[in-house]
Amino acid sequence: MKNKIRELREQLNLTQQALAEKVEVSRQTIISLENGRYNPSIFLAYKISKVFNLSIEIVFIFEEEDL
């Protein structure tokens, strides 16, 4: 699953550490998410989307092969 976390984080001038603290995960998790290596739970996806004030489907791009 692709996502726009890096792009949106940079728009808000947030560091990976700052975003990690906002959503209560480690910086390593944010790095993995940005690199597309790890797919978050629905709870974490919701928290991240809330930080950016956007809906989940805008931040995370679902593709047929993800289903």
């Binding site: 995960v25 480690s26 993995s32 290596r37 739970s41």
Partner: protein, 140 residues
């Protein structure tokens, strides 16, 4: 729905009880050793359980008053770490299963006692788990 902090407090309480049980078993083994019941076994249990139990109790007690330590525990229990740990546990189980199966198949060729086999297995299983945790930390 419970908040993350409430979840964590509940988790701390649970861990505190586990380590209390560890300490209790260790002390019971020490008493058994002192009265002379199965001395070598009880000595081993006491040596293993008492430091683990007391160490755990001290760490979790300190975490109540040290926000930095509590934060570390919180991050240890974040979803990616839990995911990696579960996946590593699953992989380690099947590797260990294969190892026991092969040990059985080749039991006529390899001459080891049950005790040696048990000690090697007890060391191998957590090592395999740790290896998979390291692999999955790189992967995810």
């Amino acid at each position: 729905m419970m908040s993350r902090d409430e979840d964590l407090k509940k988790e701390f309480k649970k861990e505190f009880i586990y380590y209390g049980i560890f300490t209790f078993i260790g002390i019971a083994a020490l008493i058994s050793y002192a009265i002379g019941f199965e001395k070598s076994v009880m000595c081993g249990i006491a040596i293993g359980f008492i430091p683990t139990g007391i160490g755990g109790l001290l760490i979790y007690r300190k975490a109540k008053t040290h926000p930095g330590l509590a934060k570390n525990f919180k991050l240890e229990r974040e979803e990616r770490n839990i995911y990696i740990s579960s996946k590593a546990g699953h992989a380690a189980f099947w590797v260990s299963y294969g190892y026991v199966f092969l040990a059985y198949v080749f039991s006529n060729l390899v001459n080891v006692t049950m005790q040696q086999f048990a000690i090697f297995t007890l060391i191998l299983m957590p090592v395999v788990h740790l290896i998979f945790v390291a692999i999955y930390h790189r992967k995810y």
